[in-house]
Subunit: 244 residues, 2 copies
Amino acid sequence: MAYKLYYWDGIPGRGEFVRLVLEETGADYVDIAREPDRQGRGTTAMLKLLKDGDGATIPFAPPFLKDGDLLISHVANILFYLGPKLGLAPEEEDLRFVANGLQLTITDFVAEIHDTHHPIGVSLYYEDQKPEASRRSSDFLSERLPKFLGYFERVLRQNPKGAGHIVGGRLSYVDLSLFQLVEGLRYAFPKAMRSYEENIPGVIALHDAVAERPNIRNYLASDRRLSFNEAGIFRHYPELDRAS
Amino acid sequence: MAYKLYYWDGIPGRGEFVRLVLEETGADYVDIAREPDRQGRGTTAMLKLLKDGDGATIPFAPPFLKDGDLLISHVANILFYLGPKLGLAPEEEDLRFVANGLQLTITDFVAEIHDTHHPIGVSLYYEDQKPEASRRSSDFLSERLPKFLGYFERVLRQNPKGAGHIVGGRLSYVDLSLFQLVEGLRYAFPKAMRSYEENIPGVIALHDAVAERPNIRNYLASDRRLSFNEAGIFRHYPELDRAS
């Protein structure tokens, strides 16, 4: 039975970290909210499920994944569940917890990236919090971006199985998420990334290797791959960007 | 061999969600950073480990747990690992992913609670971001606190095994984390909680039941239990609090 992915239509957002895993492995899946509104599909079906008064496992927010009767929320949790089934998790059980820790570090980083344009509240528009966004972005680019990316570079270099992957000796879902991080940051903060990337050659080489994988290349060229835009997590507001 | 917990001394913070699990189950553990600085203990030892140039699994930040050679970062990941070993996870594997999704919702909520007093940057003092903190807290109390707590109340009520636990039919680590959430929110936002708690009778009943458990009661009365204060996640700044 096909996996059902539930995420907002029109933005790559957090759903994209899950899509990359499904696409790389050629898994059978339906991107529910991007389908027409009928037969349990479409955004209407997703919102209905979130309001379900009987469901025992209603999630707080998209993305979530349905596998048969099981409903799983949160990117890191979905990937922890899918990874071993789809061959994108380390084989050693111990390393799976290391992978999950790295994925949760990416989760934290993504939340901070989101808050560069929404430091006051998700219920407000960016236009209602521009001075605060400017201050937060400045702190983000000088302190947080180097700290997070520098950390991933260091973990790559210290991987005893080689710097080709962030954990273990073969491709994992965390590698795919790092690819997406670099893509999103290049879109949102092109000036900062141009000046900073020379400090993280390992992360950039990993990004490039993922982009060259046949299934990923086909996916990126397809219309299933959504473009970044100013409704998502990675937003390009030139006034928030500067050399890092 | 005893578990080694690594977390900043002097604040309950994120480490407390792990401590509650270790205390409830009477697990053998050492709270490394709260020990004197010698023989691999103390804050010095924790900082040394974070800078380790050889370690394959260096975490980004505390808390982390060491079990033998395995180093595990992030509260939700640590609890996902410890839960089944200590009998505080659901027995059914599917429900373990539901528990993890709920714990990650708590993680998101805790990050938003932290950002009420640090909306601009963790590298700045609260005093350097007071106007922004005031605006963010106002949004938090009117929008986010009711949304998150209302969600947990709904999940409790819809639990097919009964509203005594948030997931499954017996105590899990998620119940203990919800107890800590209520404790922290009462400390940080007493006015808001006094006016809002009548909307979440199930969550409050769960909190009270956890507080009455013998091991938890002993722990809360011991000097191992740290007090909330204005260096942690849950901070009481009266100017940020108001009836919700």
